[in-house]
């Protein structure tokens, strides 16, 4: 037991504490903006896709290509490519504020695709029934499509949040801080296995919490 405790005795717990806070802020901020931007984008992708309410071949092809380009870009490259743009909107490319724009740009296309898929899962009959009630297109989206796709959308948010946890670790490259950064700088580069273990365990706990909460929400809104 003593040996176990002494193994972790060299850890700077304040550093860990601050890094955890950074990770949570990056995650919260980027998840919020990803949802705000990705949900409408996902709805738009769905509506413009073939045989849907607003079938628009060119718009869909354009959006789809843009989404695919962003998704095929490795996140680490995106982080660096985005630096001038990040400075433009946040005034800095460092820290939590500097990490959020690339995180959002990286996660939004991914989330939008998941939303598109969730909406596609809604039975066409539901859309038809809502149309037959005299609903406008906007009402179909807000009163039928989104409520019916809610479990799928919560599942998409969960997957996106966990993906973002992974992305925040890479954001250390541009000096973003956070647990992942700590793991790389101390755990990997300085061979501090103790720091590595602690950060990984904390990340694991975070992922575990996100998944559990997400799953609960999905079950709650499934009404089955």
């Amino acid at each position: 037991m003593d040996a176990f405790l002494s193994f972790f005795s060299n850890i700077d717990w304040l550093e860990i504490w601050l890094a955890t806070g950074d990770t949570l802020m990056m995650l919260g901020g980027s998840l919020l903006f990803t949802i705000v931007l990705g949900l409408p984008l996902g709805v738009l992708l769905f509506l413009c896709s073939p045989r849907q309410l607003f079938e628009q071949k060119t718009v869909y092809a354009f959006l789809s290509l843009a989404v695919n380009i962003l998704r095929s870009l490795p996140f680490i490259i995106l982080l660096i490519v985005m630096i001038p743009f990040t400075v433009l909107i946040t005034g800095t490319s460092l820290g939590v504020a500097g990490a959020i724009p690339p995180l959002v740009v990286g996660a939004t296309p991914f989330f939008a695709r998941l939303v598109e898929t969730a909406l596609r899962e809604v039975d066409r009959g539901i859309i038809e029934a809502t149309q037959a009630m005299g609903a406008s297109t906007r009402q179909i989206i807000t009163s039928a499509l989104l409520p019916e796709a809610r479990p799928g959308i919560f599942a998409a948010i969960t997957v996106t949040a966990i993906t973002l946890v992974g992305y925040t670790a890479m954001a250390g490259v541009v000096g973003a801080g956070g647990l992942g950064d700590l793991a790389i700088r101390f755990g990997y580069q300085r061979f501090q296995t103790d720091v590595m273990i602690v950060t990984v365990v904390l990340l694991l706990i975070l992922v575990q919490i996100l998944q559990t909460v997400g799953d609960r929400l999905v079950v709650h809104f499934s009404r089955k």
Binding site: A129, A132, M133, G134, A135, S136, S143, A144, P147, F221
Partner: protein, 352 residues
């Protein structure tokens, strides 16, 4: 009652048509090819009727139904619903039209994310004309009518198929429509539930004077609730008329097939069976009160013929009893017997 066709009585009062199709046709464009779903069709549905459309899948009945509330856009022709030309309507017009035309579906299409009460309230909240308390009151009334008051707070997944369709019916009636469209409304239900849902539809038709247009592939559904029927095949209405007439005296091969499916007889098999039966073979159709009159015995006694019953069915078409018997007749004064049948207003068909 016997003698005059059933529709004489219907036409005795002033007829109003709530749905009219004038040379309406619909063509789908699939992979660069035009595929006709509905050939030029002219059709009128009387107000207050239960109008049935029967056909196999792909016959165009679903397209025809969806043209009424303009879920489908016609390729040509004119559709009038409740004195309004729906072919020329803009988005606002269509929304008003659809509040006047309720619709129920084979797979119910209820929103799984909303409670029974919220599903029923949906057309009203979408219309946005009533206050919240007025909507609540209307929903309570509707649930009462379909017998689901105690299930208001449940979600659709907790209901049986028949209950789901009742929710569908309550929802379709929410905006007090003039017309109710039923898209294979009972095809996903077991026979007993089908009967109770059809009974509810008949009740609604009678009490609310609501015009119902239903599509089905089962003649039994037509026989139980419809006043008038149109038989569709390959995008064309091949036969149309009062249900009793079409059901008892089908002329088109498609109609005959539907009737035989319902009666579970195979005509060619029957012909083989009767080959060795002596005498003449006739099919008698009784309708209305004559169904229950002791005609056969009386006429056999008076004319000295002997008869044996080869096949038969006594049932109801909506509210009218009917009987259809296939008899082999031997001996006695056969011509006199035939004349007596005709004189008694029994429809007679000599099969052999």
């Amino acid at each position: 009652m016997p003698g005059l066709p059933l529709n004489f009585y219907l036409r005795a009062h002033k007829v109003r048509y709530v749905i009219e199709f004038h040379n309406v046709h619909k063509t789908y464009r699939v992979a660069g090819k035009d595929i006709p779903a509905l050939h030029s069709t002219t059709l009128r549905v009387e107000s207050g009727q239960v109008f049935g459309l029967i056909g196999h899948s792909g016959a165009g009945k679903s397209t025809l139904l969806r043209l009424i509330n303009r879920l489908e856009t016609p390729s040509g022709g004119k559709i009038i619903v409740d004195n309004e030309d729906v072919t020329a309507m803009d988005a606002n017009g269509l929304r008003r039209l659809r509040q006047q035309v309720g619709m129920i579906f084979q797979h119910f299409n209820l929103l799984a994310s909303k409670t029974v009460a919220d599903n029923v309230a949906m057309p009203l909240t979408l219309a946005g004309e009533l206050s919240r308390s007025a909507i609540e009151q209307r929903v309570a009334e509707l649930l009462e009518r379909v017998g689901l008051s105690e299930h208001a707070k449940k979600y659709p997944a907790q209901l049986s198929g028949g209950q789901k369709q009742r929710v569908g019916i309550a929802r379709a009636l929410a905006t007090k429509p003039k017309v109710l469209l039923c898209d294979e409304a009972t095809s996903a239900l077991d026979p007993q539930t089908t009967a109770s849902v059809l009974q509810l539809l008949a009740e609604i038709n009678r009490e609310l004077k609501l015009t119902i247009v239903l599509i089905t592939h089962e003649m039994d559904v037509i026989r139980r609730v419809c006043d008038e029927v149109a038989v569709m095949d390959a995008g064309v209405i091949v036969e149309q008329g009062p249900v009793a007439q079409v059901f008892l005296h089908p002329t088109h091969p498609t109609t005959k097939r539907f009737v035989q499916e319902d009666e579970q007889v195979d005509e060619s098999e029957q012909r083989d069976d009767f080959a060795h039966v002596p005498g003449r073979i006739v099919r008698l159709t009784f309708q209305g009160e004559s169904t229950y009159a002791p005609l056969l015995g009386t006429i056999a006694r008076e004319t000295g013929v002997d008869y044996s019953i080869l096949a038969g069915r006594i049932d109801r078409i909506k509210d009218t009893p009917y009987g259809q018997l296939t008899l082999a007749i031997t001996g006695g004064d056969m011509e006199a017997a035939f004349a007596s049948f005709v004189a008694a207003d029994v429809h007679m068909e000599v099969l052999r």
